[in-house]
Subunit: 216 residues, 4 copies
DNA sequence: AATGAATGAGCGTTCATTCAT
DNA sequence: GATGAATGAACGCTCATTCAT
């Protein structure tokens, strides 16, 4: 992978304030930021490499020094959001709360993360098919890992009676994350609801379907 | 191109009725069918007009005779599935059944229709942003019309007490249709579940969230 | 293969004298002529497609309408000279002359043909390795076919005693054609010797090695 | 390439002792060895500087430290083989043997040297035109010097009656060396004949053409 | 002596669309 | 209605070379 493409990175603890004019960020980050915005605005295939490097203030040669191909940018965008969401989900799942609270935390969190990185999500589901098959497989595997962890959480709740058992855990997961992944099609950050609010309500809807039926 | 390399295949094992020699379908339909398959397989941007006309067994000139541009094909694919789904939804909504039964029918039906025309759905959500803005607006308006009709159905149920009122009808609609529109990412027609089965379970999950709470 | 790429072509039986200004020749021929000159002048990799189409007075699009890739031009240049040389060799080999006269005719002819199409020959041996492997294999097979026909002619002469038998027919063929294929490195059409003269002398040298030894 | 395959040969026959870990050879040689192999395998134009330095285990900066440009590598490869062949030819020509034996020794030797350094020869005749004109002129002059020395040897034999005089010494030289220079197109080191065997037979063919005619 | 990030010009190729026929 | 040759602009990518370190 390209150097400097880490995401969370706590680099630069010291303040290097004095950088007189240009490059605040390393080149790979600048490219990723520019690409994310442009891909979300006009689509992957409709954005030229020239537009990306112009927006990032570098040359094509520099880009190809760090990324092997245009769709490596796509891959990095995916990998980045996937890494963030997986790490957060695992923290929530493994917490000491009740199972309802843990599932609710996962649900709220994935909505909040999704709307925070809405561009990445939009790009992801619009353009995954344009990724090189090998990288596509990697991304799918990682996504599947995420879903399966959540499915096991639900099954755990079903086995203890915390959740009703006559709902397919797998289908509930596909249903819920389908709804989440579709947020990019309608959610507006400048609209009436915060990500947190949507997350709470989505969590309600998810838990509605798993609450043990008083009549059964 | 070699003579006889047309796509429909001149095999004619028996006499399939009166179609004496060539074209089973009119040219525009053949083009739409070919385009749908190719767009779903490899994406709109990645499919060339040449590939479409080859697959349809016609020439470029013929295509431009019927369609003003490549993205007119996209528009027609959208319009077609939208017309079908809207008509079916309206029939279900306006039936004489109970409101629960009507909402359930709508839910099952949109899932069944979606998986029946999975290619169209996949193309739709992947490529809508590539459509000419004017046509994109038309498509969005039609989609909104659909969602709003269903939202009003839910609100009607909430006002009569058939559905619980502490769920936002609008959000429930976005949530549910989000899940439905995402089917293309995981549903496989050759998998274990029929469209009808998924539809029934999705309907269960939708109604779970609207069933009046026995405790409140 | 591209339309109109035949070489000997007896087309144009009628005299179309009146063509007022431009295109004397069909586009594919114009491209091949321009490419041959440029490849010989500066090499295949050093000549850009843009230079070729400019020299031919057409656009890139037109070129790619007739040739699938830049190296299809190379292939056509090879195939053209190979076709000509093979046809002429076969005519000479199958004539009614004595075997010495037939071999001499082949030898003279391949030299004459080579210096007549010296550009093609130079390009051929300089750039064959840049051809797509599949096409390279085709070209090699055709070349081998040529060599083997001549080898059999020599073996025929050896079996009848017309040629001495203690020279390897195969090696003689490789030796002689090696010398011929190298003509492009030193022969100058504006130099002191005509192709016919070089051909006669090369033929002498070839036959020197096959003349039955008076002492053995 | 295996250690010890250097061209001048007498280095370190015993004592490969103290080379503790890495670089057996100095950087320029490593680059030349890598470049030779790659140019022969895929051609000069098709081999990137990056590939060469990777194969040599150095960086681009190191290469440009020793060689002014990519085609300096080409020039060095030419100069190297030319130096070797010229030195060996002069030794043979100036020996005390009969003129027939001296010409034969030259002929055998150039074949043996050529197949021993077949990669260099292949590169030479494929890519000489890509060399900077000045360096190309140097190389041609050196090559001409070689040919002329051999031509004078033949003329010497013709003037003494050792060789027949009705063959053009110049043409015989072009003919013979043409055949030799073409060895790279068909000779395989893993084939049935050793370089020595091919050399002997090539020498026979050369001398066949110069043997005084018993009938004239 | 050696690094490797960065340049910048140029490459082969694609492709939606047009238009004379 | 339909053809298919031709356009022309743009595309992703390569690469020899430079240069601050």
């Amino acid at each position: 992978m390209a150097p400097g493409s880490s995401i969370g990175g706590a680099e630069d603890p010291a303040a290097q304030v004095s950088e007189s004019e240009a490059e605040q960020e390393p080149v790979p980050q600048r490219l990723l930021t520019a690409a994310t915005r442009l891909f979300a605005e006009r689509g992957f295939e409709t954005t030229s490499v020239q537009e990306i490097v112009d927006a990032a203030g570098v040359t094509k040669g520099a880009m190809y020094h760090y990324f092997g191909a245009k769709d490596d940018l796509l891959y990095e965008i995916y990998a980045r959001i996937l890494r963030v969401q997986t790490a957060r989900m695992e923290r929530a799942v493994d917490s000491a709360e009740s199972i309802q609270q843990r599932l609710r935390a996962v649900a709220v969190d994935v909505v909040v993360t999704t709307v925070t990185h809405l561009d990445d999500t939009v790009i992801f589901f619009r353009s995954m098919h344009l990724l090189h098959p090998d990288k596509q497989a990697e991304v799918r595997a990682q996504r599947r890992h995420y879903h399966e962890r959540v499915r096991r959480l639900i099954e755990e709740g079903q086995s203890t009676g915390a959740f009703r058992s006559d709902r397919s855990a797998e289908l509930v997961v596909d249903f819920f994350f389908g709804a989440v992944h579709h947020l990019g099609f309608w959610y507006r950050r400048d609209g009436p609801m915060s990500g947190q609010q949507v997350g709470e309500q989505f969590a309600d809807l998810l838990l509605d379907s798993l609450r043990p039926d008083s009549s059964g």
